[in-house]
Symmetry: D2
Subunit: 143 residues, 4 copies
């Protein structure tokens, strides 16, 4: 059952804005979600670095899906808030994001995400986020 | 002088990821920056709401350009970190973001951004962010 | 009714750690709470400025009581998380904190707090916090 | 040399507000700082739990001293901002805080702190903070 739920989440991750951004899912496990991005020109900011918004979106969305692995199909996950620190400018050509659930209360959950800049065979942690999420019964979102 | 700097910032705002997202600049003033977004399907998340990452990118980038209005052409602005709260799901069809500088230290600055969901002639504040920025001499980014 | 609830909150504010810190309530209104602190040596940090933890406690607790003004006696308010930016070192001899509810959902609420350093007849905004709170039925906390 | 600097920091930690709160230093290492608190009535909030401000002060101050271990005696550490999530109510009778430096740039640093509630032989992570700090030449604080 868990496997089919994880398979569903792999696909569910990629729609709307995250699909437009070009993220890819690399790993799904209990309380874990990992993604990558091949950096394009359209991901950069005015000085040529990867835009903070790209890393924030990746950190938020991956953190949310880490939380999804802890609920069943009748729940949806919404972001209440998040905070993200940027340690160093990221250049690419690849980013990886690793998220894990820190605390899985029934309704309020917290995940953290780390974003790594992968270049020349080395990885550098470039950002870290703390994300607060809410599990909502799916039928309540239909109103 | 200020006018030509503000005109420069209006154009500088729109490149790379923010251009790809489709944001538009609506107002620039001293310590102020305002933008809008016409919401498309590619801005939404799995439940049909505007994705948190879209609002986070808008809040971060607009806050950064509010800070740009307080420095001269020899400085670049980088985001150190930000935090954003999401109050209500946003549906569109339009978002507006209004940012202002809270504190303009010489090197460390703080801005706040409010994001509004505009629909059926009404506006609703859907998110608020607190953003910490750093003004860096432009030549230091070239290394 | 509202008046007696506000009177209750004025007293309820001052117990345990906030009482030990020496805060005083100066104003209570719908979605509003304001407090002050006469700065003592025991509020400072290693360089003689008011400690960040004093301002964080003041910002959190006052934000929480602003949220209390929006619920009834059968609910308790807990802090889910907060973020606080420190703009300038605070010296005293007095601090003031003004909090207001930004968003009053039934269960999840958000307040913001601004902390001012009052000295030599001038006030300076030294910190700003964004606080996420949860209203919990009082009987649930008794377990 | 490192040892005498760490010894200095052990003592420097305990003055002003943190001394008033009653924290104790339990471990100092490169990029690491750990503290504990024996919970008293004066650390609690209106519902009998440890006050969020106590944990925030502990998380901020310990994170700051983790950063102090990475600079020399001519620098002082100031908190730019922090964010803290509270996972569960903390009851005591003891709290422990473990902080480590995530990123040690020359001027801007980031640490994280985890706060544990110790009771009945078990430890429970009750809070986690992400703290942004600035190393300032000591002589600049004297102005």
């Amino acid at each position: 059952v868990e496997e089919s739920w994880f398979d569903f989440l792999r696909k569910d991750y990629l729609q709307g804005f995250p699909a437009r951004c070009g993220f890819e899912v690399t790993h799904v496990g209990p309380g874990r979600f990992e993604t990558r991005l091949v950096v394009e020109e359209g991901h950069r900011q005015q000085d040529g670095f990867v835009h903070a918004g790209v890393m924030a979106t990746m950190a938020d969305h991956t953190a949310g899906y880490a939380a999804y692995t802890t609920v069943d199909r009748n729940h949806r996950i919404l972001t209440i808030e998040f905070k993200i620190n940027f340690f160093k400018p990221a250049r690419g050509p690849e980013l990886q994001c690793r998220s894990r659930v820190l605390e899985g209360g029934r309704s309020i959950k917290a995940s953290e995400s780390e974003v790594f800049d992968i270049g020349q065979g080395k990885e550098k942690r470039v950002a870290k986020a703390l994300v607060t999420l809410m599990a909502v019964p799916a039928e309540r979102l239909r109103d």
